[in-house]
Symmetry: C2
Subunit: 440 residues, 2 copies
């Protein structure tokens, strides 16, 4: 083996180099690192990486300060008064993500204007009833005694709509995340209960004050839906549905009912308050789209609000996903879509999960417009904004004045513009009125 | 589609049922859940799931209290005096894990008796030098501008040895975890630096007070080794090597040098203090084993200290992994290895990563001895304790009196015994002296 004869490309010296990268051997020196003076016996300090608390349950470096961003109220006129407790929704800091797993602490949460219930899992139960032979009630411990699956899937709110008004990737795509979910296949519970012939849909209901309810067609419920008790190796957290959450892979976020307490088997979809008020379009053309997300992708670095420090070598990176299955490939453009190159995939390609991609890029200091497009296993290609608007017969103005329920899943391409100072901004031209796509 | 005609097994009513599972429709009722009375404006409370802090950076339910367990000093006679800061090592709570991702907060950490450095990433550098054409120094930001990989891999300390003295799975197998690691392939850096013909090994050095150093053969360094800056979607945490950690997939944990600051290319392995004192055996028979873990597995539920609540249906579950590549299959025995059944795999099978398996089990109230064995893609089968001892020509007593460096990777099977009261204990018969296998 002679590594020097390897044909693999050299990313740095074949192009512009990173600043100050190559040193003569005599010039090599390392900065010394400071070490906290506090020992294990010192007084508790939340920033002390050597504290007993940090040994028992680890914590981040004090130099890492990424947090979720808080969303405002969006439709106060159509929603009930704020209950108490009230808790705002929060967006994933998409521009800081790496890999395909979203840290649970940074995973978006949409609250529908109710507080997060503080549920004691020992007292929580899940009922399965309706058009079944044997109504069942499970405790959480009983569910953990059943066959289970553990899979990595994205979760995305239909409000995750590319918009010229978003400054950052968190603004436009912060209502999504990707976790390993562990739980019981819903099919196990439904078969145990015994489905009656008239069974066609299930209704899933949460425990929060608002009693969020969602209708799921039975074929999907028997396919890959699960009642999850685990997220990224721990119990599902309170703001993600502790102790039980319905996971409906590839479907809109709102189907993934949190604090799940009831599955009712029925013969038709219910049109509940939440479903009716914002999430079901009246146009039959949109109905088939109201379940499964099409292929989407977003460049996370560089993205809006980022600043390139200097000319030279970079990797453009982002995530791609599809409600239809695995991603087949991702293309990246640095010229606003005139030309594309196929991106490298940096990790596993899993069905209905984030797929991390990157493309090495040498920035020459000129303006650039970066964008990506995903192709999924079904052969569906992520559309441009123009293609999307044309399909629906809308002008740009109309596109951004429409609510999500009128439009399907809004999977058009969002470009990022890099100016000559290295500043990165939203690459979609401004429009006038934009409907806040916040929903589920 | 007629779900009632499905041939899939029914796990509950075909065997014993979970207690109190089937209810008449009229008896169905759900417990109401309590909701925290504190709103977003209330005073900060660490348990308040609706607090501003919890919106910005999520937290666990107050009902979830799993933590890492603290390890004692193991060889005070051969180690230097405890420095200040001192930080103990901590074990993963293996018996509470689900899926294949270990939450970073619960991932084991071995500290080699030095505190965790509190490194400012803006001041940290990585030097690549030695037998190279161009010595290089990188900042963390510069490394993030290079091609990267993001893969899910286990990390395991050689001290993770099945032993009759461990009460729980954390005691015997708590020195392991599995994360998504994101970083630059070391091959990219080495090719950029340009390897000289005499290059045969690399030496990796950390930044902590002890300056941990490890020698890695060049073929491995050019294969799948990476300089990681990300773990489970966030920057690597301080106790896992923030801001940079060498990841050497499938090799002993000690190779995965934390707080990485230096890669020196050399012509032979260095025998440094840490390598010499405990981790390199003198017997040539053990040398080939001192890199790559063989196939291993452990049942995580039920495992030591668990208590089965009653007779009935359970799932026996655990994880399997191998340093040699993907797991091909896992078998589970409920009679101490007399007979085995092939387990179901509940999630993705990834190379050099945990693979989650389960087997439905109906406990009839009699004594049972549960154990698993893993087969990897190389065709290597996890051995029994007797097979392992025979290979090394040792009695049981000698096996447990030997240090890891004399034994390879200690991948023999650990059974769990379930008594008639449902109490789960270590299934290995006691021996006298057991060497604490704590190491890396």
């Amino acid at each position: 083996m002679d590594p020097q004869k390897s044909g693999r490309r050299r990313f740095l010296t074949n192009g512009a180099t990173l600043a100050g990268l190559v040193l003569a051997p005599s010039a090599v020196s390392l900065s010394s690192t400071s070490v906290s003076a506090a020992g294990a016996g010192a007084a508790a300090d939340v920033d002390d990486v050597n504290s007993l608390d940090a040994v028992l349950y680890g914590r981040r470096s004090r130099f890492v300060t990424t947090v979720r961003s808080i969303e405002g109220m969006s439709h106060p006129d159509v929603m009930p008064p704020r209950p108490n407790p009230y808790r705002p929704s929060a967006r994933t800091p998409v521009g800081d993500l790496m890999g395909i797993i979203t840290p649970t602490s940074l995973h978006f949460t949409t609250q529908h204007f109710y507080g997060v219930p503080d549920i004691n899992p020992a007292e929580h139960k899940l009922m399965v009833h309706g058009l079944v032979e044997r109504p069942l009630v499970f405790t959480v411990d009983e569910l953990k005694r059943l066959p289970f699956v553990s899979r990595i899937h994205f979760l995305e709110c239909i409000g995750n709509r590319p918009s010229p008004n978003g400054r950052s990737a968190a603004d436009t795509h912060g209502r999504m995340g990707c976790s390993e979910w562990t739980g019981v296949p819903l099919s196990v519970l439904l078969k145990e209960a015994g489905l009656k012939n008239e069974a066609k849909w299930i209704i899933a209901e949460g425990s929060e004050d608002g009693k969020h309810v969602k209708s799921v067609p039975l074929p999907k419920a028997l396919d890959d839906v699960m009642v999850a008790y685990g997220q990224n190796g721990e119990p599902v957290r309170p703001d993600h549905g502790f102790p039980l959450r319905l996971i409906v892979p590839g479907f809109e976020g709102i189907y993934n009912v949190k604090w799940l307490r009831r599955i009712k088997v029925v013969d038709q979809p219910y049109v509940t308050f939440q479903e009716h008020s914002r999430f079901i379009g009246r146009d039959p053309k949109t109905q088939p789209n109201s379940f499964e997300f099409g292929p989407k992708s977003i460049i996370t670095y560089p993205s809006g609000t980022h600043q390139l420090p200097n000319r030279g070598s970079y990797v453009i990176t982002g995530v791609a996903w599809s409600g239809g299955g695995p991603i087949r490939k991702v293309d990246v453009s640095i010229d606003g879509g005139k030309t594309y190159k196929e991106a490298e995939i940096s990790g596993p390609i899993l069905s209905k999960a984030f797929t991390r991609f990157y493309l090495p890029w040498k920035w020459d200091g000129e303006e650039a417009v970066l964008q990506s497009r995903a192709l999924d296993e079904k052969g569906q290609m992520q559309p441009t904004e123009a293609e999307y608007a044309k399909y629906w017969g809308l002008t740009r103005q109309q596109l951004y004045a429409a609510t999500p329920s009128q439009l399907g899943h809004c999977n058009w391409i969002l470009p990022w513009k890099v100016d000559r100072m290295g500043k990165v901004t939203n690459g979609l031209p401004p429009v006038g009125a934009v409907v806040d796509a916040h929903s589920a």
